[in-house]
Amino acid sequence: MSSDRLPRLLALVPYLMSHPGAEVPEVAELFGLSEKQLIDDLQLVWMCGLPGHTPGDLIDVSWDGGEIIIDNADTIARPLKLGVDEASALLVALRMLGELPEFKDMDVLGRVIAKLESAAGEGAATVSAQVQVEIGAAPGAHAAITDATRRRRRLSLRYYVPGRDEITPREVDPIRVVLVEGRHYLEGWCYRAEAMRMFRVDRIVEVEILDVPADPPAEAEPMDVTEGVFRPSESDELVELELTAMGRWVAEYYPCEEVTELGEGRLRVTLRVRDQSWLVRLALRLGENGTVIAPPSLTEQVADAARQALANYEHMA
């Protein structure tokens, strides 16, 4: 058993005291345990109690029929106070929420923060003021999108795709609004792609809430954004780039399959690319600070694009 068992027991007992008759499955889920592990915890608690350890001193637990009843545990009936990290983790997140338009005119965050700070003590309040998550101003489409998501209404969008430099019309059934890596996204079922898509809200050129209820198909499952929004697929082409120290930012911005230090700050990276025109644009942007090593056909495409662009400057000169 892991070393978090004691902290867990010190939360489990008060939880059971304040929720008499709680069911085994629901409590197990809440504490992230299997039912067997939970029963094992209950059996352990049942062996503990006040000094003397006569039956009258021990904590009494029963789970007959799946309902948990606990008694004689008054000494640890309240949970342990919040640690500095615990309170700060919540406080920093709450302060961040305060920057969202949804919470701008509501006093609920202020109330919660005040309650938590008074429960947690001074340390957490100070730390949480020193860790700050800034959310950029919400793009114009944000309010309409949030509204449609809450009311489950279909959206009609005009959406800008920079990789192809085009604006496409789409109908989308919104599933949720996500803030990740400092950006707002709409996630929903896109009828044009016949698939779930993430739309950057700042690239939505126009939005209209349709008078149609959102009705996404059963397979419309939100994606896991834990590893970032952009997840390359195995079928995307592998491209190898060499970057100078000035071009290293590429490895910071885009998920790379491989990164090799070449000395003097230079890097060789391998990334998966869905759209070749996106990579050509990246290579033009990098100029002398990035070179496409493979595939050779892409190296050629980049050079062609650069020649054509330079021709414009010769004409004008």
Binding site: M1, S2, P7, L10, A11, Y15, S18, F31, L44, C48, G49, P51, G52, T75, I76, R78, P79, L80, K81, L82, D85, S88, A89, L90, A93, L94, L97, L100, F103, V108, L116, A119, G123, Q130, V131, Q132, V133, E134, T149, R150, Y160, D165, E166, R176, L179, V180, G182, M246, G265, R281, L284, R285, L286, G287, N289, V302, A305, A306, A309, Y313
Partner: protein, 313 residues
């Protein structure tokens, strides 16, 4: 941790909370099952370890030393152990639920869910029903956990740092005042001891481990310091206007960002763009290939030409 040890520690917590007067180590040895009754040295070692483990999870153990008594006494003061009564309205519980899901990586995600569990154990009914709003903050930088701890403990740190375009990694010694996430990236703000001035460092450019130095509590955060302004200041520069010719029907993103847009000759339009860093502008315009041409100012124009020539090789 073995089951026996967990049992012993739980009994120890109950014993120290239940007692009204401090108990000596010997009294605790008698009262709590699991301590060695015969070997004094083994008991002392085990008791020391147990106290440390309880303190590590945030349990405050009071030590009383009476001048007329050789042995110290121990107890846990209920008021400093217990979570105070806290009641949340329905809307308050809902935002706590939302806040608890923000962190994505081990250290803070565990801290947030630990806090939520304690609040619920204390009777708060936090709402975890799926919300149409989901907020995620990533702290994937390996430098984040040690810097959070350094800020929390007010300790100076040293780390290797690679400048934006620099070729070498230099060691920096910094008194951290805070960490700020801006546009999805983390920065640490503080006093750079080597330079004798305040500085901002990007966590993604920290190389290797962040090592705390000096005693906890030794960093003093200046009164009224504005962490965000310090991070934002880095990105500001003098703003100028560039004139860019764009091929008709292309460069939709650029057109959206333009301050001014007017039709030109021969199938081209003219856009005015505000910029502060010519290199940043050059990168953007070069990426648009033959659909956009910088007319001026000259330094921005030259910067684009240099990039395009660079991409030829």
């Amino acid at each position: 941790m073995s089951r026996r040890k967990t049992e012993r520690l739980l009994n120890l917590v109950i014993c120290l909370l239940a007692t009204h007067r401090p108990l000596s180590a010997e009294q605790i040895r008698q009262a709590v099952p699991g301590y060695d009754p015969d070997n004094d040295e083994a008991f002392q070692r085990m008791f020391e370890r147990d106290k440390n483990e309880l303190r590590e999870i945030g349990i405050p153990i009071d030590v009383h030393k009476d001048p007329w008594d050789d042995d110290p006494g121990y107890r846990i003061v209920r008021e400093s152990y217990e979570l105070p009564e806290i009641t949340l309205e329905h809307d308050e519980a809902a935002v706590i639920g939302l806040a608890a899901q923000v962190w994505q990586r081990a250290s803070l995600a565990e801290a947030a869910s630990g806090a939520l569990l304690k609040l619920r154990a204390g009777g708060v009914r936090a709402d975890l029903s799926p919300s149409p709003l989901e907020l995620r903050v990533d702290t994937r930088d390996p430098a984040f956990p040690p810097l959070w701890e350094a800020v929390r403990d007010r300790r100076a740190v040293t780390f290797g740092y690679r400048r934006a375009a620099g070729e070498s990694v230099l060691t920096r010694t910094v008194e951290p005042w805070g960490v700020v996430s801006r546009r999805g990236r983390w920065y640490v703000v503080g006093h750079d001891r080597d330079r004798g001035a305040s500085r901002v460092f990007r966590l993604g450019r920290i190389v290797g481990t962040v090592t705390p130095i000096g005693r906890p509590g030794s960093v003093i955060v200046p009164e009224g310091v504005d962490l965000r302004a310090m991070v934002g200041f880095q990105e500001m520069g003098v703003e100028r206007t560039a004139l860019v010719r764009v091929r008709r029907g292309t460069c939709l993103g650029l057109r959206r960002a333009a301050q001014e847009l007017r039709p030109g000759r021969d199938g081209w339009d003219e856009a005015e763009l505000t910029f502060s860093d010519p290199e940043w502008l050059a990168g953007w315009i070069a990426s648009l290939g033959s659909d956009a041409v910088v007319v001026g100012p000259p330094d921005a124009r030259e910067a684009v030409i240099r990039r395009l020539k660079g991409a030829l090789q």
